[in-house]
Symmetry: D2
Subunit: 388 residues, 4 copies
């Protein structure tokens, strides 16, 4: 089969978590005879201070066909908006050049929204992974807006697939395939070198092969201004427990500076011999850590979804993931010291949970590629209620 | 009551049609004691070649508090995308400066989408007029995406209000208020000076006080590339009828150059003594013309909605408004010469239709202001299905 | 010689006049064994309403390797500034992708300034044609700013070359090569079809094979706001003479709407049976017309430079070209009706002037390619005074 | 005198060093009866990770009338270019809103270039401080380009004033006023709290009241890629001396990530008990430290200029300031360990130098305000050679 006839699928990756979820899908596209993988790395994927995950992409044997620098510095609401604007300007140039038949996006970040808008206005069909989920932060609105621009939907749960259909999307284009991160987490061992954390980041001497907590705490953009106080509560709780803790710096959303500041000030004024700070981990290592940690604490969506494949106990703090489906392994608390301490103690006592199939059976990539192959590209969408 | 306590409502106007619909709402806000009107003009509102409707705004006694230049020239898909990007960058600056409590948007244009995204990521609540409607073109997707960013919804029909709720918006924030253009069209006389058309635009000598056709034909962005041929079909049909026809140039969407070219080429090669071309009419005059025309022909959403208040016979051509609710006064045809001719002849024979209340009772402005006053601003949205 | 070793020269074309001047240089690069021509079309080159000169480029057998849409609509000072901003954002993406060894620019337009800044900050050496000239409008400042970013200079006159050196550029990188438009104008015949003008544009029936005036009148950005009145004076003068006149619409600079409006209003209120308006002519045809016209009237820099190769009588109006070197064939007047009429009458009486070698001997392309081949790329410039 | 008649001078501040130099000028403008100070903070002035100097501006009693977020993250050549583009888009909006009569800029940074271009194309006269100097990096080109856009020039040395005139600027608009930083450095005491450094930044315990080295090392953009190796040489040299050293993180230019990485890697692999790292110091404190340090080491332009007012020994490393005028107190070395060590030892042995008047007599602010008051704003520049 000649190159000319291949369906060009442009995968857009906007942060390390995107790649963590998408690499099995990318591999499956790459290995398929009728699809051609085109990869665009954007946003924090390209930034040194977020670990430049684009390099992992290349090391894993994927070409990076386009790079989109779009982050306007500031990490405040107005610069987050401007980053979207710059992103649309830049993505449209890349799509013009790369001429994809389909743009494949995941999730709900503003960078993905920018890519979706560029593609939609250029009449390029959009495939969207993980629509229909529910959460807090502006991501909640962005996710559903992307759904309204997308032409084929790969939901990660049954509920999400139903929600997408209820929003007026045509049934024939909505599929519950599970979360693609399950495709490799289920098989993943948890072998990790003792010096993993110590070689990266700063702070306490912690081995991944002894019990440790894993923390990620992102800002809630719709609650901008409250992040510092919430982080202080979390730090107080952890300080009281003083259990070895690996904390990964937050993403670039508005409010992240407040979180960073709370951590830096805390370290100046407290003995933080239990705390190790890390900029980022490559996707596989991160998943191994999540599989291995005694308890994952914070508000990353990864903690909710990916932990279902390993039964890791999770403490979800605050409103960032409000309404998102989760397994039994997750306990929600408000961002107050005492609640956090009590919840952690309970989770530790309980220990590991059984694996759940809420987010799929580990075949998402296969299902996605099948559907992409069958998919007949179209531009004009219509709210399906009007056709009933 | 001191100024400090006024709720600042920022009305965003992105084209002449926006203002035609919004001026009664703006007046009602301006006259209310607890609201403060802030006006931002954007996009083609500011451009000479689209008639610089911002000047009408000022002449009508409204301040223009912000101006957003965002149109990247080209009128092709990629420049339409880039215009959105530039728009978000610029709207965010204006909102930062003007500090509105609510941003009030109407419709589904890309410029309005840009404003919605800027506001949403800056945690400014969005009020949206005319969500829940259905149409063709990329506007269909943009409209529903704006709904997913909006915090309070002013639908123009019962069906639209229902559709918005079905998409997962909270019932308490969805109101069927009717289309605000009805607020003045119902009362409008049709007195027009004989030389109205001749003083503006170019072409045939036509009086608004003798029977004339009114044409607006916009591109369908999702069908980019087909616009020239469709326009040629329409021109052929009208040429055969050779009835005095006033044609208003299309908007700035991708494809508008193709329509313009079709018209220019037609005029070079045909006797077009029946055709008068106009760049734009001020909103009131336009509505008088729509009330008075023997038949409105084309695909403007205004023809669908506003004609219900006057019973004007309408021929809707092509897919740009597919699925949109309309009155009995409208007949849909495909963009083929013979179909168009036959439909026009039928409409002319039938004559004027009775006024319909499909798009409201002429009190939309009043309802909108009432709801805006009661509205308690909030940032965090959540897909309502998750709360059931 | 393998492709790898070719020096990649990226020619940036930002308007029809650029291409008129550059096509012989492009051909010479294309035909050279050690250089690789890369072409980026930008700005009005891509726009339908300016005649989409990119299509001529392709018809002439050059690839268009990159397209930069950058014009923010408005044609007012603030949108001209924003267009530069957007241009830098876009040019940097293209240069990143195309990886030129040298960027070759011509002239003083804001679009060229945008390209120069993008290249300079990306450490790509810049070759600049037509630096060191003097004129009015913001172009005067932009031209010298480009000189301060450029690494090799191809001046069109001896004086310009001297001025560049006096500004502190290193002698070894400054060459007087003449204006490349001379390379083909000197050989050009003036065969033109009778219906040339009538087939394009609107207005009076004029043959290029009978005496006609040729008019181009651009705004002077630094005198923004005065352009309408000046245009009215010019129109009055021409109206009194009532000689067949072909007028080419102005460029996109701030103020062009004022000129356009003056023309449109004039046509509504006067018998303009002497006036034919044209959007644009392809470069070769334009030069034939300039060679053939009884008198060229206005303020295009082309009238000053290119007319020296043909001895065409020129009337230069206003301050747009103040200080620019010109041949004896040019008479300067202030933008007042009586002065203009009197100057035109004198020029007509005088008739054609002898050809001048002020702007070179018709070998500019050859010289430029020679120097580009020898040029050893470098990034770091230094004001040469400091090395004396 | 009523507000209406005040000349509005818009000071643009783009980094902490700008403000260090400009605050005395700002105060003088603020205190003058016929001038109105308008302040725009841009670029790293607004960024947390560069110390958010805008807050110092406000604490010092100045209004921040406009904020321009423009830094596109990446600190590589292509993002530096894009930042300029975004800057022009944003500055033009601010200038449109603030309507200054004069824009007052300092120096040669890309952010200042963006402001200059926005102002120039909007016909706002530009006053430029510190033109005519010579250095390495792209700043060298940017500085002279700004000169070509500026309408009145405040040079800091006699040589610079002469260079500006030689570049073709009109003598009547070029003034040697000295560097405004001298206006307060000459009077400055060197009282500093013992815990100054320890309270900020990380690393060794160092008192400003015992001998210490002060280091700033910025990338040379035109030598992009070499910065890491050069930083390693500098670190090796300092490590060998192991003298208490306060190192301030570099600016945001392309290459700064390479410098930061060299420092971070060094700290991981060496005992760096002599090294204290600081994000930034407020301008006054910084100048006290520069006055007090045993030796200033690196390539900040501040080290060259400001040290002349205090006689501080300086080691200038590499090509970033090549060609810039300096006092006897400065010794230049290439970025090699041994050269650096030897030069430091020599400087320490020599000790403090006498104060020099090379960069003025401490009355720059007074002179600048006088000239701004007399200045008759104009738009159209012309290369002065053409008028000779």
């Amino acid at each position: 089969m000649s190159n000319i006839e291949l369906k060009r699928v442009c995968v857009v990756l906007v942060d390390r978590a995107n790649y963590g979820r998408m690499h099995t899908v990318m591999r499956a596209i790459q290995e398929d005879d009728s699809l051609k993988l085109v990869t665009v790395c954007a946003g924090t994927m390209l930034l040194e201070r977020f670990g430049q995950a684009e390099k992992v992409v290349e090391k894993d044997g994927f070409n990076v066909d386009g790079k989109v620098y779009l982050e306007v510095e500031g990490s405040i609401p107005v610069t987050m908006a401007k980053s979207i604007g710059l992103g649309i300007i830049e993505f449209s140039t890349e799509f013009q050049r790369l001429q994809p038949d389909i743009v494949l996006l995941i999730g709900d970040r503003y960078e993905a929204l920018a890519a979706a808008i560029a593609a939609a206005y250029m009449n390029i069909p959009i495939a969207h992974i993980q629509g229909g989920e529910v959460s807090g932060s502006i991501d909640e609105s962005a996710r559903h807006a992307i759904t309204k621009f997308a032409h084929i939907h790969f939901a990660a749960t049954e509920r999400s697939a139903n929600f997408i259909k209820r929003m007026g999307e045509k049934k024939d284009f909505v599929f519950n395939v599970g979360c693609p991160s399950g495709d490799y987490i289920l098989q993943l061992d948890t072998d990790l070198p003792d010096d993993l954390f110590n070689k990266a980041g700063v702070g306490a001497d912690i081995s991944p092969n002894k019990p440790f907590f894993l923390v990620i705490f992102h800002p809630v953009t719709t609650d901008y201004g409250s992040e510092r106080e919430q982080t202080e509560e979390l730090l107080s709780a952890l300080n009281e427990l003083a259990h070895p803790t690996v904390w990964i710096w937050p993403n670039i959303d508005a409010g992240s500076e407040g979180i960073a500041k709370a951590i830096r000030v805390f370290r100046e004024h407290h003995d933080s011999s239990w705390l190790h700070l890390i900029k980022n981990l490559d996707p596989i290592t991160f998943q191994k850590c999540l599989k291995k940690t005694a308890c994952a604490i914070g508000n990353s969506s990864s903690f909710i979804r990916d932990s279902t494949f390993s039964g890791t106990p999770v403490i979800l703090i605050g409103k960032r993931q409000i309404g998102r489906e989760h397994g039994e392994n997750l306990v929600s608390v408000a961002p107050f010291k005492d609640e956090i301490i009590s919840a952690i103690n309970n989770q530790i006592q309980y220990g590991r949970y059984p694996v759940s199939s809420l987010y799929g059976d580990g075949n998402a990539s296969k299902y996605i590629v099948e559907k992409l192959k069958e998919f007949k590209p179209y531009s004009q969408k219509i709210l399906h209620y009007a056709l009933e």
